[in-house]
């Protein structure tokens, strides 16, 4: 019985830790989707680019991945702004038969990024051998007679805490600063915001940059605990939009909850059904959310707020 409890709790812990990082990935996408109604299917590829930046900073200059949090996100902020300004904005103005040209465009951008990475860095798996990678805190160190053993991986926990910090910072930015308020106004009603003197075009560019910077931060947090290879991007693009849909489009709180739910659900599937099935669980929960809870977790929160 203790063993079963131990397995369950350990799975839960890793699920929550993973979920915190997922939430950060989902936040960037939900911001872009909420403000611009743009599905950014190159989200994970941007994260992959950030991870290569962090990887090379580590390999060449021995800069700790956590320190590259100060370098990679600003770079990706610029890249995101550039993509939005030069490629996505023109397409939004083009008249075409298909309404979803923009989605296909982001797929094209993703393909370019992924294959450029393959050309330059080959498709080998890379990792940053930080010396704390396998360190962990053990329950028995603090509680001698514990009936079961739990461990808390050091890099996972640091990454999780940093993710929480970044999320809080983002919340302050959106809630308190003028730029943040303008972004939220653009998300709510673009025309009204424009009439109130908000530079909607600029907000779009900033939002895309911000979304890219957030996912870049997630990339820096992932690299001490994950392998890096060019095709990793598409996998995380899918994860990002599953979280976004699960949370409810454009909802910040929803993205956080969505990330946590997905993280826990995936850990549980991996432990109790089988490693290979975790992605199936991911998509099953996604399709279920689309069908049964089209507004995502955010709609539940709102409903509760109204009845209160």
């Amino acid at each position: 019985m203790w063993v079963q409890l131990e397995v369950f709790l350990q799975t839960l812990i890793s699920g929550v830790l993973l979920g915190g990082l997922y939430a950060l990935i989902g936040l960037g996408m939900t911001l872009i989707l909420g403000v611009m109604k743009i599905i950014n299917l190159t989200h994970g590829q941007l994260m992959m680019v950030a991870m290569y930046v962090a990887y090379w900073l580590f390999t060449l200059f021995h800069i700790d991945p956590y320190v590259s949090l100060l370098i990679a996100p600003p770079l990706l902020f610029l890249l995101g702004m550039f993509l939005q300004k030069t490629l996505i904005n023109p397409v939004l103005r083009v008249e075409s038969i298909l309404p979803h040209n923009q989605v296909i465009l982001t797929v094209g951008i993703g393909m370019v990024l992924q294959n450029m990475a393959t050309i330059f860095f080959t498709s080998d798996y890379k990792s940053t051998p930080v010396d704390y990678a396998t360190d962990a805190w053990y329950l028995s160190d603090y509680w001698k007679d514990a009936p079961f053993e739990l461990s808390l991986s050091y890099p996972w926990t640091v990454s999780f805490l940093l993710a929480v910090g970044i999320t809080t910072a983002l919340w302050f930015f959106l809630a308190k600063t003028d730029t943040g308020k303008s972004i939220r106004a653009t998300a709510q009603d673009r025309d009204a915001a424009a009439l109130m003197g908000v530079n909607v075009g600029l907000m779009r560019v900033i939002t895309f940059g911000l979304g890219s910077a957030l996912v870049a931060a997630a990339g820096c947090l992932f690299i001490p605990i994950y392998y890096l290879f060019p095709a990793l991007g598409s996998q995380f693009t899918l994860i990002a939009f599953v979280i976004t849909i699960l949370g409810g489009l454009g909802s910040t709180m929803g993205a956080i909850l969505g990330g946590l739910i997905l993280g826990i659900f995936e850990s549980m599937t991996a432990t109790y059904v089988g490693m290979g099935w975790a992605p199936v669980g991911r998509f099953a929960i996604f399709v279920a959310a689309l069908v049964f809870l089209p507004g995502g977790v955010a709609s539940l929160l709102k409903r509760k707020a109204v009845t209160k």
Binding site: K37, I39, V94, S96, I97, N101, I104, M111, V287
Partner: protein, 312 residues
């Protein structure tokens, strides 16, 4: 003249093997026709009905696995994959339709993408049935390419005819009405769910044929290949986007360009496997400058060349 153009092209294509083409050229022709079939099928749903699917690899892979498993488990010819795939693919399309067709716009795009990926991962994990990532290998029927060429040419002719028939019928107008404004179509009494389901099912079954042919022709499949998001779903979309959305010849033109481009780039030194970079660039350029594809925007193209001619 214009009406008989498809027949003339078909006759020309049927005569090609008599020219004694090399086996490599035949291989390219077969690939072009196979991608045309997939493209025409996708176009029915994406181009005419406006429902952009990122999950057509699900049907392609299912068709391929129907053929492969028939040969592997039942010891019958893989050619039975064509009739066998119809009920399986149609049933999958109906179930998928139940889930995705009530969704609109971006939600639809994302849901099809997810369902396609679910099919891939399921195929990878059901190792007892599909052998997982080991894949399935079958005995090919012919050594020569000519037989395969005529089979896929027949499938393509049939597909072209079905798409034309549907697009020019009353149903075709319903499809376009749904694409242009679903609410307006509904308010005029068009049963949008029914017509979207029809478009999805027909599109899926034809894509399944393409997959069944792939199994027969290649002799080997695995889930990573036939259920691939990048190599099947997105390439199918690219064939249509590059060629021309909602046109008869668009997918054919797109398939010619994509297959030839892939071959040329693959043969270049250094680029090798990363040929998709140029695909991506091509896709971006097409979407920005010719959003309706080479055939769809041929007037823009013509104007471009005229201007250049005048300047010289």
């Amino acid at each position: 003249m214009k009406r008989s153009a498809p027949l003339i092209v078909l006759a020309g294509m049927a005569a090609l093997p008599f020219l004694g083409l090399s086996s490599y050229v035949m291989h390219l022709l077969i690939l072009v026709i196979m991608w045309s079939v997939s493209g025409m099928a996708w176009n029915l749903l994406g181009g005419y009905t406006g429902q952009v699917s990122f999950g057509h690899a699900a049907f392609f892979g299912l068709g391929a696995y129907c053929a492969g498993l028939a040969s592997f488990h039942l010891n019958i010819s893989a050619w039975y994959g064509f009739p066998l795939s119809i009920p399986f693919v149609a049933a999958t399309a109906l179930v998928m339709g139940l889930i995705v067709l009530r969704l609109r716009g971006p939600y639809f795009v994302l849901a099809t993408l997810a369902l396609g990926e679910i099919m891939r991962i399921t195929a990878e994990n059901l190792t007892d049935l599909t052998q997982g990532n080991l894949g399935i290998m079958i005995q090919r029927t012919w050594v020569e390419k000519t037989g395969y060429y005529y089979v896929i040419l027949a499938v393509a002719a049939l597909t072209f005819w079905v798409v034309k028939l549907l697009a020019e019928s009353r149903w075709g107008y319903y499809f376009v009405a749904i694409r242009e404004d679903q609410d307006a179509a509904e308010s005029l009494g068009i049963n949008t769910t029914l017509y979207k389901t029809v478009a999805l099912t027909v599109s899926a079954v034809i894509t399944g044929f393409s997959g069944a042919f792939y199994m027969n022709y290649m002799g080997y499949i695995d889930p990573q290949v036939v259920f691939s998001l990048g190599d099947i779903s997105i390439l199918t979309i690219m064939v249509v986007m590059v060629g021309g959305v909602a046109t008869y010849w668009g997918p054919v033109v797109g398939a010619v360009i994509m297959v030839l481009l892939a071959e040329v780039i693959r043969s270049l030194p250094y680029v090798g496997t990363a040929y998709q970079t140029l695909f991506g660039v091509l896709l971006i350029v097409i979407i920005i400058y010719l959003p309706n594809g080479l055939v769809g925007d041929r007037q823009t193209l013509a104007r471009l060349f005229k201007k250049k001619g005048a300047a010289v």
